[in-house]
């Protein structure tokens, strides 16, 4: 009687909820997102309609794309802080080259620096084993320098954002943002890579235990090189999309999104030390941050107070989430 009876005794409710949440880490995140939307609706009744949702999604997509770079690199225990510069370069170059060249050519030219910076990052991190934080900060510094020099050579030519990018970035088809045409395939690809391909498994494996992975015969530098080039190209594509959304070229276009992109990945449950995380969580994280920004804007607080709240909430959510998931 005794053994089987104690085993079948239901665990306390709190513990069961906690276990459920750590089994399905997406549930508490989605609950938080719904809660934020609810608060928004209560504070400003009627704001949550189809147009608002479309707008939120439109602004969450660039953030989610950049956070995708962070998620991928964080899986191996790295981080890519050059994404802001790469995206800005792509955006600025496509706008200025759009004057002389056809849109597809301009877009291809715009992605060249992305490939180069990704290659440099990959070589530095993978072959020379520089800390990713330092390497990507360094390449982004170099990138900013090149961009400023480039800007002076084209300053007279003016700028023209290709119509296709504006359509993609700002357009709506039947109330649904066109940007989803780009985002859904990209997100599907990222999730597919992470879950179903050998490359994805190598990313988790290197993040989990790099030494063991090397001993198992994995060419570490090849994985890292491919990873950072992929991340950089993704950031470049995000830059093109963001140019279509903002439509005003500037030299610091995507920089303000870099730190939030790290925050989005971390809120979404990706471990900054590697080996754990998924892109689905990151997407919800990006949505949470976007809704949060709207919420703080509606509160009509001074800019300073808004930033304080933003930081506090990011910290709180991450801490609470880690408590729930790390059931050890």
């Amino acid at each position: 009687m005794s053994i089987s009876a104690t085993a079948s005794q239901p665990a306390p409710l709190g513990r069961r909820i906690k276990r459920f949440m750590s089994d399905y880490p997406l549930v508490p995140l989605l609950a938080l997102l719904l809660l934020l939307v609810l608060v928004l609706q209560i504070m400003q009744p009627g704001i949550v309609n189809q147009r608002w949702i479309a707008n939120t999604v439109k602004f969450a997509i660039p953030l989610a794309l950049l956070a995708g770079c962070q998620t991928m690199t964080m899986l191996t225990g790295g981080i890519d802080l050059s994404v802001g510069t790469v995206a800005t370069m792509a955006a600025f170059i496509v706008a200025t080259q759009g004057v002389d060249h056809a849109a597809p050519v301009a877009m291809l030219i715009a992605l060249v620096p992305a490939v180069l910076i990704g290659f440099a990052n990959g070589i530095g991190v993978g072959v020379f084993r520089v800390h990713p934080l330092i390497m990507t900060l360094g390449t982004s510094l170099i990138g900013v320098g090149f961009l400023q020099v480039y800007q002076r050579t084209v300053i007279a030519a003016g700028a023209k954002v290709p119509d296709f990018l504006i359509w993609l970035g700002t357009g709506l088809t039947g109330g649904i943002p066109n940007a989803l045409l780009l985002f859904i395939p990209v997100a599907a690809l990222l999730i597919f890579i992470q879950r179903r391909t050998g490359f994805g498994r190598l990313l988790y494996a290197t993040g989990d235990n790099e030494r063991a992975t090397r001993l198992a015969g994995v060419k570490y530098w090849q994985v890292i090189l491919a990873l950072y080039m992929f991340s950089s190209v993704l950031a470049g594509i995000m830059g093109l999309l963001y140019m279509g959304l903002i439509r005003a070229p500037s030299l610091s276009l995507a920089e303000p999104l870099v730190l939030p992109s790290v925050a989005a990945a971390v809120i979404g449950g990706t471990s900054i030390f590697g080996g754990r995380g998924s892109y689905t969580g990151t997407i919800v994280g990006a949505l949470i941050l976007t809704v949060l920004t709207t919420l703080l804007t509606i509160l009509q607080m001074p800019e300073g107070a808004r930033r304080i709240l933003f930081g506090a909430i990011v910290l709180l959510v991450t801490a609470a989430y880690l408590r729930i998931v790390d059931d050890r």
Partner: protein
């Protein structure tokens, strides 16, 4: 022993590089003299304090992304408190701001210890919070600074018994920097706390098992970083006479100089001397490029390339020594 030699070798190499750069500077600009040295040190001051802050934290095995924001907050606090106030009042402002930096740094540490969130994420969050606080204190660049504070970083120190031609080469700002760093760093380095900081950076688990109070040490390491950041903020107010709520480029520079100075990002290794020399090297490179009349935008490319090249070189050397 061999390791010890290698670490000293890195700092010695950096110092040689610094000397070579000074000679190069003199070669490019034969007029480069004592006055230019003074302005170099004045420009270095905020960077040096930011680097000192980052060094303490990195040795303890963490990283502090909020350094620049902390400097902005302490700078605007000092500037807005001193605006229109009497000279004597500033005597109270300085210790208050330093204590504030120490306390805010401790808050960083407490948040890291209590929330168990990685350092980089916590300080990222506090970066936003400190930035916001700085904007609340002072919406736009403004405020003021006491005259005696401003005069602390201008001019030279007259030493009795030495001719002017010698004292001209000892700018007040350099003395200020060395004195402040030594006052904090040497007792810290010699104390049990200093040893504990190296211990938790080297291996937190091993330190914990040897009875090092890991949580307390980590909090204090961040608190000292906050203290250095407050000195950096004060030095900004001293040299500009105002406070600006937007953080300067000090975060990136501090991380770069720490790595260049031979402090391992994993923690537990390095000292303050290397990073401080590295800051001088980086600033002097910038001066040289300006003297050579190179486009300031190209300067950013050169700086970034130097940083990346040096870091790659350092990583390459460690790799070679590990495999041999």
């Amino acid at each position: 022993m061999k390791h010890h030699f290698r670490r000293q070798g890195w700092v010695a190499g950096l110092f040689a590089l610094l000397v070579a750069l000074f000679i190069l500077t003199k070669f490019i600009q034969p007029n480069y003299g004592a006055g230019d040295l003074g302005s170099l040190v004045r420009a270095v001051l905020p960077y040096a304090f930011a680097v000192a802050a980052q060094t303490v934290v990195v040795i303890a095995g963490g990283i502090d992304l909020s350094v620049a924001a902390m400097m902005a907050l302490t700078s605007v606090t000092a500037a807005s408190m001193m605006a229109g106030a009497s000279e004597e009042y500033a005597l109270l402002v300085v210790p208050f701001v330093l204590a504030m930096g120490f306390a805010l740094g401790a808050v960083n540490g407490i948040l890291i210890v209590v929330s168990r969130v990685p350092d980089i994420v916590v300080t990222l969050a506090t970066l936003f919070m400190l930035q916001g606080a700085a904007l609340l204190v002072l919406g736009a660049p403004g405020g003021g600074a006491a005259e005696w504070l401003k005069s602390l970083v201008v001019g030279t120190i007259p030493l009795p018994g030495l001719p002017d031609s010698v004292t001209a080469w000892i700018p007040k700002s350099l003395v200020l920097l060395v004195v402040l760093l030594c006052i904090v760093w040497i007792p810290l380095n010699r104390s049990k706390l200093g040893l504990s900081i190296y211990a938790i950076g080297s291996s937190e688990l091993a330190a914990f098992r040897s009875g090092v109070p890991v949580a307390r040490t980590k909090i204090l390491a961040y608190a000292f970083a906050g203290l250095f950041a407050a000195m950096g903020g004060l030095s900004l107010t001293m040299s500009t006479g105002i406070g600006a709520p937007i953080p300067g480029p000090y975060l990136l520079a501090s991380v770069a100089a720490v790595v260049l100075g031979g402090v391992a990002l994993g923690g537990g290794k390095g000292s303050l001397l290397g990073p401080i020399i590295a800051v001088f090297v980086l600033r002097l490179v910038r001066t040289d490029l300006t003297l050579l009349a190179i486009d300031p935008n190209v300067t950013a490319i050169v700086e970034g390339s130097i940083m990346v090249a040096v870091v790659m070189f350092g990583a390459f050397i460690t790799m070679r020594s590990r495999s041999s």
